[in-house]
């Protein structure tokens, strides 16, 4: 997929991973909770965002913080991995093969965003897409499997 169609696909994926699609708690954060003071204390904004995501009490909060604090560069890869860690713990240990297969396929679809485009921005789109995928699978399957 190249050209205009692919650009549309990338744009849709980017919007999907940054849009307000997640229904969260009523008191969900509306802005990135990392202050200038926190960034200074942590030595950099990136480090402060890492700390904020690491401190998130659950998958949804971690994902929301990534959405709100995203860096827009390949540095989002590491943040996405942290979100995935929190979300995947909710469903992967209990996932049966078909669910694992579907999850793997969904992650690969995210990878295609970066594979087809050079540039740090596309790495960020792909990273956010993967975090969103992990969050969506956790929401959909996690609660049911843990009942």
């Amino acid at each position: 997929m190249r050209g205009a169609a692919f650009r549309l696909f990338v744009l849709a994926a980017a919007l999907a991973s940054t849009g307000p699609a997640t229904t969260g708690p009523a008191l969900a954060e509306a802005a990135c909770p990392v202050s200038d003071e926190a960034a200074a204390k942590a030595s950099s904004y990136v480090a402060a965002v890492e700390q904020a995501i690491a401190a998130a009490p659950d998958c949804l909060t971690a994902y929301r913080r990534l959405q709100l604090c995203q860096l827009g560069s390949s540095a989002d890869n590491a943040l996405s991995d942290m979100v995935r860690g929190k979300c995947e713990a909710l469903f992967l240990p209990k996932a049966r093969p078909p669910l694992k297969k579907a999850y793997g396929a969904a992650l690969k679809r995210c990878d295609r965003i970066a594979e087809g485009n050079s540039g740090s921005m596309y790495q960020s789109f792909a990273a956010l897409c993967q975090a969103r995928t992990a969050h969506d699978f956790a929401r959909k399957a996690g609660a049911k499997l843990a009942k």
Partner: protein
């Protein structure tokens, strides 16, 4: 539940327990519910779970034995030595049922004394896709 869903659910449970004698049929009293039989015996039921908009299913099965013989009961019932009871972290009123390394469901005590148990298995849409 339609015929196709019932067939897929039957196939899923047969694969999960390694027991080809399992049959799934519509509950004549409730079309959103199915009865699960093994041989001549009804062993459980399946209900539709679409509360959150995703259509999935929940299989439940009463197990009329106490904790020490749960695993043996299930292995003998389905003639499957791969069925394994695994303890749950931080929870002692329930255990997990695995087939080999694959998670199947949660088995919870019906009463504090653990005189009988109930197996609950979530069957997701993913589980039925390739059946």
């Amino acid at each position: 539940m339609d015929k196709s869903e019932l067939r897929k659910l039957q196939e899923f449970l047969r694969n999960a327990f390694g027991a080809t004698g399992i049959k799934v049929g519509l509950d004549p009293k409730d079309t959103e519910q199915a009865v699960v039989t093994f041989g001549e015996r009804q062993i459980g039921q399946i209900i539709v779970d679409d509360e959150d908009g995703d259509r999935s299913f929940s299989f439940s099965m009463k197990i009329p034995v106490e904790r020490p013989v749960l695993q043996e009961y299930l292995r003998r019932l389905f003639d499957n030595e791969d069925l394994k009871i695994v303890a749950r972290m931080k929870k002692n009123d329930s255990v997990e049922l695995n087939r080999g390394d694959d998670f199947l469901g949660v088995i919870s005590a019906d009463d504090p004394k653990g005189k009988s148990y109930t197996l609950q298995m979530a069957i997701l849409d993913f589980d039925l896709e390739d059946l």
